[in-house]
């Protein structure tokens, strides 16, 4: 049976709570009967009452509490109800949790995971729809993991919990209800798929069995469904074959898979849901130019949110966030 992204996370938490008694879930409204604002922890407090703790709305202290618990041997997994609230966690993440390991000269480890639903398209408006992980991409000591539905999000979460570092685990809220793709005979859904050997793997997808392709689309997390729609439409309309590269460890410096695909295509489009200015795509583009300039046959195109707040009204939200048509335009631009 194919799981949804949300079920995959729930089952992973269930499995690790049962196996590893050091794991403690903390968060607002995560206990039954409510089971979390997005129902991701449903059933867990009933099965593991000692390991699942409802908290007050204190994201700042909770992030510090999780760090303290991690230093003293627990494996805390803190749920922050909306990714927008990471701004409140920032001091503890940046100036405390991510610093301790290096600052104390490797004499402590901080194996904590901060999970949070991120992203828009649900009409929650300017303060509950943002894609803010980009604020945390340049923090040494902090791993930012944002699996797509072509990854196994549950497996990625278990690896994050087993990791001895501070992990910020980004779950796009629109992915929760999507079916998770399983790798079967080299395919995930309709795409030929290669997974890297990394703990937090990068996936490369092809709609032409990794034969010819005209451009590479680099994206992550909740943008992947939109990229796939755009890629499918372009195949149907213009018979254009494309490759898609989807990392999960998004502040990892490696762009090996992007360069491998560019050797074939020479053309790159980078797609993200966060705002354009100072975005993830800017860093990726800079790395590609620096490490693979000779592979590029055209300027890199970036597709991202407009540099504006996200309106609550659908028409305003749609106008700000990148749509399928924007991705298609971006791909056509790079093909010219």
């Amino acid at each position: 049976m194919m799981l949804t992204y949300g079920q995959s996370i729930n089952q992973a938490l269930n499995a690790i709570l049962s196996k590893d008694k050091r794991v403690v879930l903390l968060g607002e409204d995560i206990c039954d009967p409510y089971g979390g604002a997005f129902k991701i922890t449903k059933g867990l407090s009933t099965k593991y009452p000692a390991q699942v703790i409802n908290t007050p709305m204190s994201e700042y202290a909770l992030t510090g509490i999780a760090a303290g618990m991690a230093i003293r041997g627990r494996r805390p997994v803190l749920e922050i109800m909306f990714g927008d609230f990471l701004t409140i966690c920032a001091d503890q993440l940046i100036n405390h949790a991510a610093k301790f390991g290096w600052m104390y000269n490797s004499q402590v480890t901080v194996p904590m995971v901060l999970r949070t639903p991120m992203g828009g398209r649900r009409g929650y408006g300017p303060t509950h729809s943002q894609t803010l992980e980009k604020l945390f991409l340049g923090i040494p000591g902090l791993k930012v993991i944002a699996p797509s539905h072509f990854h196994d999000p549950g497996e990625q979460l278990i690896k994050a919990i087993d990791d001895n570092n501070v992990v910020l685990f980004i779950e796009h809220k629109l992915l929760y209800s999507r079916k998770v793709g399983e790798l079967k005979d080299g395919y995930v859904f309709d795409f030929a798929c290669k997974k890297s050997q990394d703990t937090f793997e990068t996936i490369t997808l092809s709609n032409n069995d990794f034969k010819e392709a005209r451009a590479t689309v680099l994206t992550y997390g909740g943008m992947l469904p939109y990229v796939i729609e755009a890629v499918n439409e372009l195949l149907e309309e213009d018979e254009v074959f494309l490759e898609i590269v989807v990392p999960s460890y998004i502040n990892n410096a490696s762009i090996v898979e992007v360069l491998a695909s560019l050797k074939k295509t020479g053309r790159l489009v980078i797609v993200e849901e966060g705002t354009l200015f100072n975005g993830w795509g800017a860093e990726m583009a800079a790395r590609v130019v620096s490490e693979g300039f000779e592979l590029l046959e055209a300027p890199i195109t970036r597709v991202a949110a407009k540099d504006l707040p996200i309106g609550s009204t659908r028409v305003l939200e749609d106008a700000v966030l990148p749509q399928i048509i924007d991705i298609k335009v971006g791909i056509k631009e790079v093909l010219q």
Binding site: A50, A61, L62, G68, M69, I71, R72, H96, M103, N105
Partner: protein
């Protein structure tokens, strides 16, 4: 006990003086926050807990560190940027670590971390408690109230030790703190005690009782000690915000002067010599030690 208290407090005092001297000579890089005048709190409190209990400290942490670990060589080496420093020379004055002692320079940030540490120990029934030091300046930070709330809700065995030295950098509490300090603990249903003293014996016996209470009830405690920072906030502070008269008034309650009235001049002199020699010996040794190598700058970023 009396002589041990005196020796520990004097060791801290002379250490801080040595650091001031090294800064003046240009031997140290960066900044430091001396705790001269507040030694009785560090020694009185930390002599009342076990070695495997947890201590978190702040920017003004040398006294806490020495009182808890008795380690001066590793601390001096850390301040001098040597590889044999307690954190390999990486972290300097405000971010020291050893065993179960953790400091960080972000005002009040460690109160949350300490709450989590004590919570972790409670979950495994280790019977260890945490002591989290904070100053009056930290009362302005919201994370304290979040931490107090959860410490009380979850019956976490942690003691918040508020060292009120009347000044947050240059800002007097009359400009920075509304209402009662002790009531901040009470508001969360946390037992509270406030004392005004630099008498290490009083602080020790009071704190010993608090520790017993916390271990027995498995509950948090909020302890306020009104003391005085004789030194400036940091090495560059000329104390233009307070009068020399005020400073002289507080020197009458200097923690070392209080104890000197209870030991003989002969014993005091012996201890003075011992502590002075210890610091000079440490300095002579650390001066010769190798500087840290930048080759290992990337080491330990990820574990």
């Amino acid at each position: 006990m009396l002589e041990q208290f005196y020796e520990k407090m004097l060791l801290i005092r002379l250490f801080e003086k040595k650091i001031e001297e090294l800064f003046t000579k240009g031997d140290l890089f960066g900044t430091t926050h001396a705790c001269i005048g507040q030694e009785a709190v560090a020694v009185g409190v930390l002599s009342a807990i076990n070695k495997d209990d947890i201590v978190t400290s702040n920017h003004r942490g040398h006294g806490h560190f020495i009182a808890f670990t008795d380690e001066i060589e590793g601390l001096l080496a850390e301040l001098m940027g040597k590889e044999c420093g307690v954190c390999g020379g990486r972290s300097g004055s405000q971010h020291i670590f050893k065993e179960s002692f953790y400091a960080n320079g972000i005002t009040c940030g460690m109160t949350a971390v300490a709450t989590g540490m004590a919570f972790a120990e409670k979950l495994i029934n280790s019977r260890k408690i945490a002591v989290a030091f904070l100053g009056d300046g930290a009362l302005g930070e919201g994370v304290l109230y979040e931490s107090l709330n959860m410490a009380s809700l979850w019956n976490i065995p942690i003691i918040f030790v508020l060292e009120n030295n009347y000044y947050a950098m240059s800002t007097h509490i009359s400009q920075g703190v509304a209402g009662s300090m002790a009531d901040r603990g009470r508001a969360f249903g946390i037992e509270t005690k406030e004392i005004t003293t630099n008498d290490v014996e009083i602080i020790h016996s009071t704190f010993k009782e608090i520790v017993g209470n916390v271990r027995a009830k498995n509950r948090p405690f909020f302890f306020v000690v009104n003391t005085y920072r004789q030194s400036g906030h940091s090495k560059s502070d000329d104390c233009c915000y307070r009068t020399r008269e005020e400073e002289e008034e507080w020197k009458k309650t200097d923690p070392l002067a209080i104890l000197r009235g209870r030991i003989t001049a002969e014993v005091a002199e012996k201890i003075h010599q011992k502590c002075g020699e210890r610091i000079e010996r440490a300095y002579a040794k650390i001066r010769q030690a190798g500087d840290l190598s930048i080759n290992y700058i990337f080491k330990g970023l990820y574990q």
